[in-house]
Every structure is written in structure tokens, then in C-alpha cells.
Symmetry: C2
Subunit: 382 residues, 2 copies
């Protein structure tokens, strides 16, 4: 089995951008190609995998050939992969498997989403297409779905709105140190609690924003030819759950994340204690708290205590979302999973600037689709 | 390298159906699982790859987990792959590579599209999202794009509207013998020539219809465990071209198809003369004629002569689109590439009923995305 390393990364600013989807793709691809330490030619890329959720609604689909054009190599294979908000993670997972099994030597993975050209209501409806036809027919959108999860977590475990607020405050604090972040503004617990209610108990500042952006990594089966300091993707796994909330036994859980994480822990022998840095899928603040539990960072029903105790702050024992996370870095859906990998590449190479986690050697990412029907977990090592 | 065989196939009727995307998925998956000669359990499926183009517009996205639910196995990996009208072919290509390199043993490939719930104008606009932002901004839709190709072919090579009509007549004739086809009605050259103009020189009967439907195949790296008569996918390849028509040197060509076909011929040593049956991407009648040339069945500029001479009729020397093709079997976009594989499975097993091509031993499929930005070509053997 080939050991898979990341040899280059690109990342546009996340936010409300004037660029269209083709330009976002090209910016991230160009940056990834240009920052490979010993250089790489477009013709050395064997395949491009694009992670994207809503292209057909927000612009054009058929992004594989567009990405080849952006790359300037029509000879490579090209795919667009979709798994709602886990599209980027799934694209990376495909690349990892292809390289590991020797299908390709070098794969360019690029996640992209253009979301801000439409009205907010239209994007919210579009995003609901990560749920099921029946949920959509009953008017469910994602703030409502995650609000139900939050209510249930509060009912079962005594978590409170202040705990959710602390997640937002932490991730905004981190984003202040990320020049690519959508929001670079300090907020307080009071700001969160006083922000307008979106779907009770979730308020505006509990929700990740609607962002444009793209992120890219180049993964290679011969990384040392391109750099002395590749970041290895040590292990990856997917996990799934029933798509509809009404089909699940416990809606205060995100079992797809647990299933993916358990596979990764079992295959690597790692435990949460050995991790130095984590990027996880805080599409809503409650998601970060539940994912703490599913990753085994906290016991079931105790996720909110981690954030209360400051464990996951940048200066805490186990920093989570140093990039600012989806909440404050922004959440261009298809880009998110790849952006998490870019953060790992920077953190483990010691190139994360002001938000650098000291001596970060082992990192984990958790990217999730929809209300948790799909998830992708990865472990990175230097 | 593992030899990859198809061990089961499922196919809904194509047409205006009442079923939603989840039901279409389930029907095709259930049929594919149930007709494996020696049976297969859902738990033996290691991954599901869904080919689909427009899910987010016409229903819901995130079809990977939905397909796992339809399969009844949440432990498998799940992907949704998109490459416009080549989505199904690309899903099959991924499955073929995964199995060939030993990533998975058994992969379920399912193509699906639900298109008829929206107004026609909305679907036509949605389909335009397989082109580029600039083409869309200038009002291009696919009938217009292929009309330009037809005009250029006529100008350069002297093909005529009657040649296009003969393609439609042939494929309608074949569809009469396919119980799953959208149109089962004999038409004449006059019917085509007198049908309403959609985008001159293309008339209504030059265009494939807007259809609902799903198709599935199970591919395996140990096919003989499941059947004595698997159909082997001998070779597959992709090909690409610049996405926008205005970036191409010659718009009477579909170079992505040629690139994919050339790779397949070169890797297998096959020549067109050795093929017994072909299913190719006749989204518009002109596409069938140009693809004849790109596959090397006719010399450049002589594709229309094949249909004039009857070579590609069911009783001709090299039958093309015995299923009725996209034109008459129907074109539920994401399902089309998988449907082509299903037809090969039936033809090479001698199970194609009234439309059986006698002694068919080697078959080829050509599936194309958009105006030819992407293409997937495959060769099948018994």
C-alpha cells in the first residue's frame, strides 16, 4: 500500500466574493500547484477530483472538465464528487484511496462552492436538498434540523445556550488569526445570546455563514520527490447514517461521525489523547459539541463541558478548529472538507502563523454531510 | 490487475414516471441485486456509486446515503459522481478502477435521474448547466449547441437533414423491441422532417426526450462466484475537451469521445471491425453521426453514410443503439451511462429478447457529457 502525502495546498479567501465558480476553482488550483516546494507541472497530475454540492443551482455543474481547463491538462481524469457538506472530504477520500492503491500517482483535490449570488432564502432551500424529500416537503431546513438536535441534547444532558455560544466565541477568536477567514471579528457570549433567533435554540451566531470559496490539495504517492516535508494522510474512513432524522433512534447523536472515527482509531491504533489538533464540522455550534462526543474527546452527554473548560481553545489541551471552523472561517460547502485538509497541512508543517498549534504532529479532521447521513474522518501526520 | 465482471443488472422503465428519485433508485437497486444468478446479499456490496446530474434541482442531492438506505447496507462506502450526461459512465469507470485495483470486491453502480416533474423550460435551463457560465449567459441551451454542430457538419461534409432523420427512425425502430423504452412508436423520415423545429436544423424528433429512470449494475472482482456468465468490462477510458464550444477549433467534432476511444483501442488492440454491438450517446441525432466518426466506424465527414447505407441498423453489419438509444429508449441523464452497460450485459449474455444482436461477443459503449467536454468509453466481452 502506497503512503499518501500532501505536497501542496491552495486556499482562496472565504467570504462574499465577486469571483464565479470557474475563477474560484482556478485560484485554488493555481495556488496549490505553485506552492509545491520543488515544483510540479500540471502534466504530472493524473486526476482531478472536485468536491462540490450545489453547482447546478448556483452556477454550472460538470466541474470535472472545468477543473481540467483550470489546471491546463486535458489528459488527466476528472471527477466531481458530491456528498452534501462532506463533498470535499469525500473527494479527498477518493484521492487517498486511488493513490494508496496505485491507480494514480498524483491527484489534485479541489473543493469549491459559490453560494452568495442567490438570495439567502434560495440558498437555505438549496441546502435543504442535503436532507430527504419528505423532510423538505414538511418544510425542514438545516437550522431547524440542528435546532431539534440541540433541544434534544439540552433535554438529555443539561447543556445550555451558553455552551453553544462558547463554541461560536472560540471559533471567532481563532478566525481572527486566519487571514482567509470569512469573519474576523471578536464576539462575546452575550453577542451570541442576543443575536436574532434563527430556529430556537439556535441564534444567528450559532450558524455558519453562507460563503464563497475554494480549497485545494495535491496528494501524491511519491511525496518526497516534491517536498522534504509532506504531510501524510495516515488513514481515512467514511461513516453513514439513515438520511432522515425521523428514522434515527437518537437525534442528539451523529453516528456517521462515530462510525468513521471508530474505523480510523481502530486502523491506526490512535486514541483521542494522542491527537494534537482537530478540525471538525461545526456547521452549527451544537454540531461541534456532539462531534466532540462522537470522536471520543468527551463522554456521551459531556461534550459541552469541554468548551466550558476551555480544553478545545487554541491555548487549551486539544485545540479544535484553529482555523475558525465552519462557524467563523466560513462554509463554502464543497470546499469545507478540503479546507480542513489545508489547515492540517499548514499546522503540521508549522506554517499556520498566529494560529499555530505548538508542536502539532498528529491531526484529525471530521467532515460531515447533511444532518449526518455521511461523514469522512482523516488522520494526518508529519 | 483484477478482471472486472458485471454480475447483475437492473433497469426501470424509462419515461414519464410517477416515482420520485428515491423510489427509482430503490427499484433499480432491488432488481440488480435480485437477478444475480447465484444471489448476492446487500452486505457483500462494498461500495455504491451513484451517477446523477441534476439531483439538487429536481429533488434532493446527497444520493450516496440514500442509495445505501435503498440497498439496506450502511456499512458500504457511498459516492455520488457527476459529469453531466456522462455521470453514469463515470460512475461505472470509478467502479471499474476500484475493483481492478482491489480497493473493493463488489461495487453497485446506479444511475438515476428524475426530470419530468418540472416544466420543460426549467429542465432545459437546468441541462444547460452542463455547459459554461458564458455560454449560459448568452442564452445557449443544448439544442442550440448541437444545432451549431449539425450546421457545421452539413457545411463541411454535405450531410443533410434526411441523414439526421434516419438516425431517429432507426433508433425508434429498435426501441419498439425494448419494453423499457420511453418511446415505442415507429416513425418515418417524413415524421422527423415535419416535426416542429427546436433549433434549426434540429427538429423535435432529432432530440432525445426528457425522461425519468434508473439503471444499475453490480460489478465484481470475483464474478464467477456469482454467475457462470458474467460480462467482463475489458477496458475503460475517459476523454476530455474544452468545455465551451467557442474554445474549440472544430465544432463538427467530439474529440473527448475520440480520445477515450483511442485509449481503449490502444489498450485492447481492438479495432472497430471487431465490434459486434455498440451503444452510443445519441442525445441529438447529429451526435450519433459525429460519434460514428470519432469511434472510427466511419472516416471523418462520412458518418452520415453509415446510416444511409443501413450499416448500423439492428439487421446491419454493426448495430448501433439496439436499445433505442437516448433518442427513443429515453435519456434520464444520470442513468444513461449505466443503462448502456445494462444493454451490453443483456446483449452479450444473449438475453436482449427481440432486439438481440446475433452472436454478440464484443460490445462498446460511448457516453458523453454536455457538448462533449467529457466522455467515457468501455469495451465489454463475454
Amino acid at each position: 500500500m502506497v503512503r499518501v502525502g500532501i505536497i501542496g495546498a491552495g486556499h482562496t479567501r472565504f467570504g462574499v466574493l465577486k469571483n464565479d465558480v470557474e475563477e474560484l476553482l482556478k485560484d485554488a488550483v493555481d495556488e496549490a500547484l505553485s506552492n509545491v516546494d520543488r515544483g510540479i507541472d500540471a502534466r504530472e497530475i493524473d486526476a482531478v477530483i472536485v468536491g462540490n454540492f450545489l453547482a447546478e443551482i448556483t452556477g454550472v455543474g460538470h466541474l470535472g472538465p472545468l477543473a481540467l481547463s483550470a489546471l491546463g491538462n486535458l489528459e488527466a481524469d476528472a471527477y466531481r464528487v458530491e456528498s452534501a457538506c462532506a463533498s470535499g472530504g469525500l473527494a479527498l477520500y477518493q484521492a487517498w484511496q486511488y493513490v494508496r492503491f496505485g491507480v494514480y500517482d498524483n491527484v489534485l483535490v479541489v473543493g469549491v462552492e459559490k453560494m452568495t449570488d442567490s438570495e439567502t432564502s434560495r440558498v437555505t432551500e438549496a441546502l435543504a436538498r442535503a436532507s430527504t424529500l419528505k423532510e423538505m416537503a414538511h418544510g425542514f431546513t438545516f437550522p431547524g434540523i440542528f435546532a431539534l438536535m440541540a433541544r434534544e441534547h439540552m433535554r438529555l444532558y443539561g447543556s445550555g445556550e451558553e455552551h453553544l455560544a462558547l463554541v461560536a466565541v472560540k471559533n471567532h477568536e481563532n478566525a481572527l488569526k486566519n487571514p482567509k477567514a470569512h469573519f474576523r471579528r471578536r464576539i462575546s457570549v452575550e453577542d451570541v445570546l442576543n443575536s436574532p433567533i434563527v430556529a430556537s435554540p439556535l441564534k444567528l451566531y450559532d450558524c455558519s455563514p453562507i460563503s464563497d470559496g475554494a480549497a485545494a490539495v495535491i496528494v501524491s504517492g511519491k511525496p518526497r520527490e516534491y517536498t522534504d516535508t509532506p504531510i501524510y494522510i495516515d488513514c481515512m474512513a467514511t461513516g453513514y447514517d439513515k438520511p432522515a432524522l425521523y428514522d434515527r433512534r437518537d437525534i442528539a447523536r451523529l453516528l456517521s461521525v462515530k462510525r468513521a472515527a471508530d474505523k480510523v482509531y481502530s486502523l491506526t491504533g490512535l486514541t483521542p489523547k494522542k491527537l494534537d489538533v482537530i478540525e471538525l464540522h461545526d456547521c452549527f455550534t451544537i454540531a461541534e459539541i456532539i462531534i466532540y462526543e462522537e470522536l471520543g474527546l468527551a463522554r456521551r452527554g459531556e461534550g459541552h463541558k469541554l468548551v466550558e473548560e476551555g480544553v478545545t481553545r487554541l491555548d487549551g489541551e486539544l485545540p479544535v478548529n484553529p482555523s475558525g471552523g465552519l462557524k467563523a472561517k466560513g462554509h463554502p460547502v464543497g470546499a469545507t472538507g478540503v479546507s480542513q485538509a489545508v489547515e492540517m497541512y499548514l499546522q503540521l508543517r508549522g506554517e499556520a502563523g498566529e494560529r499555530q498549534v505548538e508542536d502539532a504532529e498528529i491531526g484529525l479532521t471530521a467532515n460531515m454531510g447533511g444532518s449526518g447521513a455521511s461523514a469522512v474522518v482523516a488522520v494526518y501526520k508529519r
